[in-house]
Amino acid sequence: MTRNALGREIPERIGGRTVAPFAGAFAKIPTGTKAPRLQKGAPQREDKVLPTLEAAIEACGLQSGMTVSFHHSFREGDRVINLVLGTCARMGIRDLRIFPTALFGVHEPIVGHIESGVVSRIEGSMNGPVGAFISKGGKLREPAVLRSHGGRWRAIEAGDVEIDVAFIAAPQADPYGNATGIRGKTPCGPITFQAVDAQYARKTVVVTNDLAPYPVYPMEIQQGWTDYVVVVDEIGDPASISAGTLQLTNSPTNLLIARLTVDAVMASPYFKDGISFQGGAGGVSLAATKFLGDEMDKAKIVGSFGMGGGTKMLVDLLRRGQLRAILDGQAFDLDAIASLREDPAHLIMDPGIYANYDSRGCATYKLDVAFLGATEVDLDFNVNVNTHSDGQLLHGIGGHQDVAAGAAMTMITLPALRGRIPPIVDRVTTVTTPGEVVDVIVTERGIAVNPRRGDLRERFLAAGLPVRDLAEIKRDAGRYIQPVRRPVFGDEVIAAIEWRDGTVIDVVRKVEGWQ
C-alpha cells in the first residue's frame, strides 16, 4: 500500500499493472513515445462488407481472453454491446475484457455474461446495474478500471490498454469503412469517442443499420482504420438518448441553485465578450445554461464557444448568435444531432481534442466556466461522482475530471440537502476529482469558494452573493437529518479510479460492514 497525494491508500499493483499513485492534477510530465500502431496489412481496393456479425468475429480472430471495445453514443438506447456480447456467448467465446466508453442501464445483460464467464474484466465506466452487481460481490477476474473520456483516449495511445477488436456502432457507413453518427436512419450524434480505438485496435469492425454508397461523411471513422463492415437490423434507439436527462428542472431548490450559479458567473471575471462554458445535461446545468444565455443576451455579449454534450439549449444559443461555436463530443438530444448536420459552427470534437492529458492542448483548457454535478463533495472540495454514500459503484467519470481540470472556474452544483443522505461530507467516499481543480460549490444554502480562490471570494462578496464556509453549509443541512451510517471497507479492491493522466486517484473497495 502507498498513500497518494490525497492521502488515499492505493495498492502497489492492481490486476497485472504497477500503479502510479496520483501526485497532483498537473504533476505528471508526459515523456517518451506513444504506443506503436499495428500495420494492418496490404492496401485494399475491395469493399469490406461481411454478411454477418459472426463472420466478422471469425474474420477478426476474436478469441477467449481478448479485449473488445464499444462507444456509448446511443446511451440508454444502445443495442450493439448486448448484440456483440450475446453473439460471442453463442460462439463459445469466454473470458472477454470489455472496454466501453460508458455503460448504461440497458446493458444489464452484461451481468449474466459475467456470471456465465463470457465477460471477466471491465475497463470503463460502471453505470447502473453492472456497478451494483460488482459492488454486491459479483466477481471480475481483475478490478475494474474507470477513466475519464480524456483519460481513456490517453490510455489507448499510451498502450495501457490494448484493444483486440473495436466494434463501432455506426448510424451510417459505406462499404469501404467510412462511418458517421450524425446521418443515417437512426443517428446518435458523434461516434468519434472510438476514433482512437479504430486506429489502435488490432481489428476494427463497423456495425451499421444503414449502408450507404461511398463516400459517407463526415468521416468520423475512416476507411484507413476499418477492417470490416457488418450490416444488422438495429444498432440503437435515438429516442432513448435523452432518457433520464434533459428535463429543465421545475424544482424551486434546483432553480435557486441554477440562479445562484449564474449570479456567481456574472460576478466573476469571466462574464465578458468571448466567454466559453460547458453545460451538462442535468436539470441544474440546463437551467443554468438557459439563465446564462439570457444574461449574455441582456449584456449583449457573445460567447466564443459552448461545450457539449450537445443540447437544444446550446443549439438555441448558437442559432441566436450568442455563441460563435459549439464543440461537441456527444449529443444529449435529437436537436443537437440535427444541428450537427445543419450548423457549420457546431463542431464534432473527439476526446483527443477535448481532453487528452498527454498532448499539447485540450479544448477543456480553453473553458472559462463549467457547471458540473456531484454525488458527494467534501470539506477539501474533493468531488465524488462514482460511488454512492453506501460505497456502491454506480456511475462513470464521464468528462468530469477533464472539464474540472480545464475550466478557469469549475463550479459544482449540488443541493445541500438531498433526502436523508447528506451530499456534503467530511471525506468523500471516493475521490473522482481532486479539490485542487474545484473552485466553487453552489448549493441552495450558500456558495462555498475554494480557499485557493480568494479572488473569486472577494468578487462574490462584493456582488452581495451568499458566500459561506462549506462546513457551515454542511452544519446547516445537518440539523434536519440524523447522522447516516458509513460503510466499513475491506481490503479487496473492486475498482480503480484513474486520474486523467493515468495515475490512480482512488480505489473502490468492497464494503464489509457498517459503522
Binding site: G419, I481, Q482
Partner: protein, 388 residues
C-alpha cells in the same frame, strides 16, 4: 385500530401505527444500511416523548427529513391513542418581528406537502406563509398542523414566517393550539369579515401565548379580506386589534363571492378599499397572488399597478415570483436619492432656522419630509434584512 399517515411521495414517509402489547418500530427504506438507525432513532424519540405507549409503528421512508418523520409519527400515535399526551411540548424559539418590517412578498406553501416545504426557508421571501386552509384537504388537517408545528420548531427562518389557519369555527382553534407551539411570527385569518372575529382570534392567541410562556401580544395578525362582506367592513377589521400589522386582499374568493370575472376593473373597488382601510389603521396592505406562473411580464405589470394603488407587497405562489415582487415593491434608487435630498434639505432648513424647505427650487411640505424619512428607514430595513 390501525392508522396511516403521510404518503409515498418523495420527501415524505408513510407511517402505519396500531395499538400493540408493547412499543415497537419497524423501518423500511431504500438505503437500509445508511438510514435505518437514524430513522429508528427519530421514531423512538417521538414514542418516548409520549411516555412510551404500547404502539407498533411502521415507517416507510421516501427521504423524509427528521421533522417530517417525527410529525408523521406523532400524528399516527395521536390517532391511535387519542388520550396520549406528549410529556413535553415541541417548542419553537423565535423573537417577535418588527411590526413595520418590509413585507414585499408573502410566499404560500401548502402545509401538508413535505416536498414543497423542504427548503421553503431559503428563497429570500419577506414572509413565508405556511397554509393550513385551502391547500390542505379536510382529512389531512390534523397531519398538516403537526407537520407545520414541527417544521416551525426546527427551521430558523431568516425573515418572517406566518401560518394561515382555518376559520376559527372551522378548525382554526385547533390549528392555533398546536402550531403556536412552533412560534410563528404571525397568523393569517382567512375570510376576515368582522372586527369581532379578529378580536376573538387575538384573545385566543393571548391565552395560548400565556400558556406557552411567550410574550402576550407578540404574535401578529394578518386578516385576509376575500369576501364581499369583508371588503365592505374592512376598516373594522384593520382597526380591530393592535396585533394587526398588515391587511391582505384575496382576489380568488372575492371574485367568486361577488360573481365577477377577475379583471382589474372588478377588483379596483376592493383593492382601493383594502388599501384605504389598512392605511387608515396605520398598517400595511398586501395584494392578492398572481396565478400565471409563466408570465413574468404580466406579474411585473400587476405588481406595478398594485404598488401605484398603495399596496406594500403581494402574495406569491412560487419562489420564482419573488425577485419581481421585491424589485417592484422596493424604493427605486431614484426615489431613495430624492428622499435623501428632501431630508437633507429639511435638516439644513432647520439648522438655519428656516420654516420652509425647498428642494430643486420647489417648496416641500412637512408631510412630504416625513414620508421621505419613512422611505429611507424602510429602505434601510430592506437592505438589512431579517425579521427583527
Amino acid at each position: 385500530m390501525e392508522t396511516r399517515v403521510g404518503s409515498d411521495a418523495k420527501a415524505d414517509c408513510l407511517v402505519t401505527a396500531r395499538a400493540a402489547e408493547r412499543a415497537s418500530v419497524t423501518v423500511a427504506t431504500k438505503n437500509r444500511n445508511l438510514l435505518e438507525t437514524g430513522i429508528r432513532a427519530v421514531a423512538e424519540a417521538v414514542i418516548e416523548s409520549f411516555g412510551s405507549p404500547a404502539v407498533a409503528v411502521e415507517v416507510q421512508d421516501q427521504g423524509a427529513l427528521d421533522y417530517v418523520l417525527a410529525a408523521r409519527i406523532e400524528t399516527a400515535i395521536r390517532r391511535v391513542l387519542p388520550e396520549a399526551k406528549p410529556v413535553q411540548a415541541v417548542k419553537g424559539a423565535r423573537a417577535a418581528s418588527d411590526p413595520d418590517r418590509p413585507r414585499r412578498s408573502r410566499l404560500y406553501a401548502p402545509g401538508n406537502n413535505p416536498r414543497l416545504l423542504v427548503g421553503i426557508d431559503i428563497h429570500g421571501t419577506d414572509c413565508v406563509l405556511l397554509d393550513l386552509e385551502d391547500s390542505v384537504p379536510l382529512a389531512e388537517k390534523g397531519a398538516a398542523r403537526t407537520l407545520v408545528k414541527r417544521l416551525l420548531a426546527v427551521v430558523p427562518f431568516p425573515d418572517e414566517v406566518w401560518v394561515r389557519i382555518n376559520p376559527l369555527d372551522a378548525g382554526g382553534r385547533d390549528d392555533l393550539a398546536e402550531v403556536l407551539e412552533g412560534r410563528p411570527h404571525g397568523v393569517c385569518l382567512p375570510k376576515a369579515e368582522t372586527g369581532e372575529s379578529v378580536r376573538e382570534l387575538s384573545k385566543e392567541l393571548g391565552r395560548i401565548e400565556r400558556r406557552l410562556g411567550f410574550d402576550v401580544g407578540s404574535t401578529h395578525i394578518m386578516p385576509i379580506i376575500e369576501t364581499a362582506r369583508g371588503v365592505l367592513r374592512c376598516e373594522d377589521v384593520a382597526e380591530a386589534d393592535e396585533r394587526v400589522v398588515v391587511v391582505a386582499f384575496g382576489a380568488e374568493d372575492y371574485t367568486r363571492d361577488i360573481g365577477a370575472r377577475r379583471t382589474d376593473e372588478a377588483l379596483l373597488f376592493a383593492r382601493s378599499r383594502v388599501v384605504a382601510a389598512a392605511k387608515a389603521a396605520g398598517v400595511q396592505a398586501s395584494d392578492t397572488v398572481y396565478a400565471d406562473l409563466a408570465n413574468d411580464a404580466g406579474l411585473a405589470d400587476e405588481c406595478a399597478r398594485a404598488r401605484d394603488l398603495g399596496f406594500d407587497g403581494k402574495g406569491a405562489i412560487n419562489p420564482r415570483q419573488i425577485p419581481i415582487l421585491h424589485h417592484v415593491f422596493s424604493p427605486s434608487a431614484a426615489e431613495l436619492e430624492r428622499a435623501k435630498a428632501i431630508v437633507e434639505a429639511a435638516r439644513e432648513a432647520e439648522s438655519r432656522g428656516l420654516g420652509a424647505v425647498a428642494v430643486d427650487g420647489r417648496m416641500v411640505d412637512q408631510p412630504v419630509v416625513e414620508r421621505a424619512r419613512r422611505l429611507i428607514k424602510y429602505a434601510e430595513k430592506i437592505s438589512k434584512g431579517g425579521a427583527a
